[in-house]
């Protein structure tokens, strides 16, 4: 099961990211991972939260524009070469990556990478990663 990432539209002006952060704080939503993509005149804040359902309700009620995007998160060894090993597997299977970002988890010496694959490749990528010892994490494990 892929993870559900929230992709939130961010206007390019001072204070707009703070509005999202404040909303999460006011509703006691915990962010597990975050990445910001920026285009010329707007941005997309990509976040993994502890409660997707609650977050989407909160965003919706506050008038934010967002999408729920399926992504795949895998744990890596938090040491040199950890990412390269995983990428080699995907490369060999000719799976394209739209974007990725990394974060460290609660467990010591564990790093996580969030992969965004094209929709058609999500299942295959998850399977291949699992077969090679990189079992995608579930929401509960986060």
């Amino acid at each position: 099961m892929p993870l559900k990432q929230l992709s939130v539209f961010i206007e390019n002006r001072p204070g707009s990211i703070a509005e999202v952060a404040r909303l999460l704080r006011d509703n006691s939503i915990d962010m597990r991972a975050l990445s910001l993509a920026d285009a010329r005149d707007y941005g997309i804040l990509r976040i993994i939260v502890n409660d997707v359902y609650k977050s989407s309700t909160v965003f919706k009620n506050s008038g934010f524009i967002f999408k729920i995007t399926p992504v795949v998160g895998v744990p890596l060894k938090d040491s040199a070469g950890g990412l390269a090993d995983a990428l080699d597997i995907l490369g060999a299977a000719e799976i394209n990556i739209e974007y990725l970002y990394a974060f460290t988890g609660k467990q010591e010496s564990k790093a996580y990478v969030i992969f965004r694959f094209p929709d058609k490749d999500i299942e295959r990528a998850s399977r291949i990663l699992a077969e090679n010892g990189y079992s995608p994490i579930t929401e509960e494990e986060l």
Partner: protein, 433 residues
């Protein structure tokens, strides 16, 4: 010493001008009634016959024409002459839905070029001058009008058209132009470029004739200083011929309307009532010498004042102030007519919500047009590329519709300012008056 292109006309006594206007108006109304069914219907609806019009004092009885009428009659409905007698077409810069196409016989071109010639001579032009025309050429009337006028004066004419500023500056230096014709914003830009390159001593300009967009007295002073010239305003609209309907003399306190060709009125835009001299209102023109495309009581939507106060230049024709605004929502950006409805049409056709805001500004004397659109859930995607692609599509469609480049900015929902529940669609930050 003030010089004139047609002194006997430009300085004619008031009574003579009035006599010309009476006679030409009678003739025009009679001819239009016979040849233009569209206007005949308007007159019939008001119960007016050509014989009811004895002179300018009866002008108020005639029905108005608006841009909507010209659209309705597009393309040939306002023609008063067979097409085979016409030799030229020009068109307004606006595109779909708002295009106005004007026709000219050889006589009409002569009249138009005479009007422009008067403007050039009033700015000091002679047959010894070099006139550098960098208005756009083509359907736009700016280039062809001043080009023709310059020929009539006998000046050496450089049909540069707009763009490629490096080359413009190079030619100004090499060919020693003395009179520059373009939009005021382009003149300011040329001025900046000349000074940046340290070429101020290399240019020989003495005067400029600048029009097709609104500009302030402050901007006039900036241009005069940066190019070392005297900057003259010129006014016109394609519907009437193009530039040259009125022009500034050495006094620089308003533009003399060529009253032997055009009768000007100021009306209350709400009621249509004619206002006394000196009052601010909408400018209305009746062309009285045009062959192919005569217009009676055409509403320009430009707000200004008229004055018959004696002018030190010796010209006796009525003067109009710079336009102080519009009685509709049309914007003039980079010399191009822009209607918010055109932008709305593009947005809707590209699947955007009609929730937008147009911000016009002038940065370094050049107009900028920003279109802000509120993002919607349907438009948004996690994929940066697909959103940018849609944005580019919108920029291209706006360019195709307006003829100028607008920058598009996607903003958060409900972020467009609303006043009393109604969105503020247009913000014009330029200080033009």
């Amino acid at each position: 010493m003030e010089r004139y292109y047609q002194e006997e006309i430009e300085c004619a006594p008031r009574e003579t001008i009035s006599a010309w206007q009476d006679e030409r108006l009678r003739e025009t109304v009679k001819r239009v009634y016979e040849k233009v069914p569209y206007y005949r219907d308007l007159m019939d609806k008001k119960g007016i016959k050509p014989d009811d019009i004895r002179g300018v004092e009866d002008l108020g009885k005639l029905p108005f024409l608006t841009k909507d009428d010209l659209r309705e009659a597009y393309p040939y409905g306002m023609l008063a002459r067979p097409l085979k007698d016409c030799v030229r077409i020009q068109s307004t810069s606006g595109t779909t839905g708002k295009r106005v196409v004007a026709f000219y016989t050889q006589h009409d071109l002569d009249v138009w070029e005479d009007c422009c010639a008067r403007a050039i001579v009033a700015a000091g032009g002679t047959d010894e001058d070099v006139v550098h025309v960098c208005y756009g050429y083509g359907l736009f009337t700016g280039g062809p009008g001043l080009n023709g006028g310059s020929h009539k004066v006998g000046s050496l004419t450089l049909p540069m058209s707009s763009g490629n500023t490096e080359r413009q500056v190079q030619f100004l230096c090499d060919l020693e132009a003395t009179i520059l014709c373009c939009t005021p914003s382009y003149a300011a830009y040329i001025g900046e470029t000349v000074n940046e390159k340290g070429l101020r001593d290399k240019i020989k300009l003495k005067a400029g004739i600048f029009g097709a967009e609104a500009w302030s007295e402050e901007m006039r002073r900036d241009i005069e200083k940066s190019l070392g010239i005297k900057a003259h305003d010129i006014y016109g609209l394609t519907e009437l011929c193009g530039p040259g309907v009125s022009f500034e003399c050495s006094e620089q306190t308003g533009m003399h309307i060529n009253e032997d060709h055009f009768i000007a009125e100021i009306i209350n835009p709400e009621t249509g009532e004619v206002l006394p001299e000196g009052e601010k209102g909408e400018l209305v023109f009746t062309s009285i010498t045009k062959d192919a495309f005569p217009l009676i009581r055409y509403r320009t939507r430009d707000i200004c004042r008229l004055t018959r106060k004696k002018c030190s230049c010796g010209r006796t024709h009525v003067k109009m102030s710079k336009p102080m605004g519009r009685s509709d929502d049309m914007l003039i950006v980079k010399g191009v007519n822009v209607f918010p409805s055109q932008i709305e049409t593009v947005l809707v056709s590209k699947g955007y919500p009609a929730n937008y805001q147009i911000i016009v500004d002038r940065v370094k004397n050049t107009d900028t047009l920003d279109v802000r659109v509120e993002m919607t859930n349907e438009m948004f995607s996690d994929n940066l590329g697909s959103v940018s692609e849609r944005e580019k599509e919108l920029v291209d469609a706006l360019k195709a519709m307006l003829g100028i480049t607008a920058s598009v900015k996607l903003v958060a929902p409900k972020s467009i300012a609303r006043s009393e529940g109604k969105a503020v669609r247009i913000i014009d930050k330029r200080k033009l008056i």
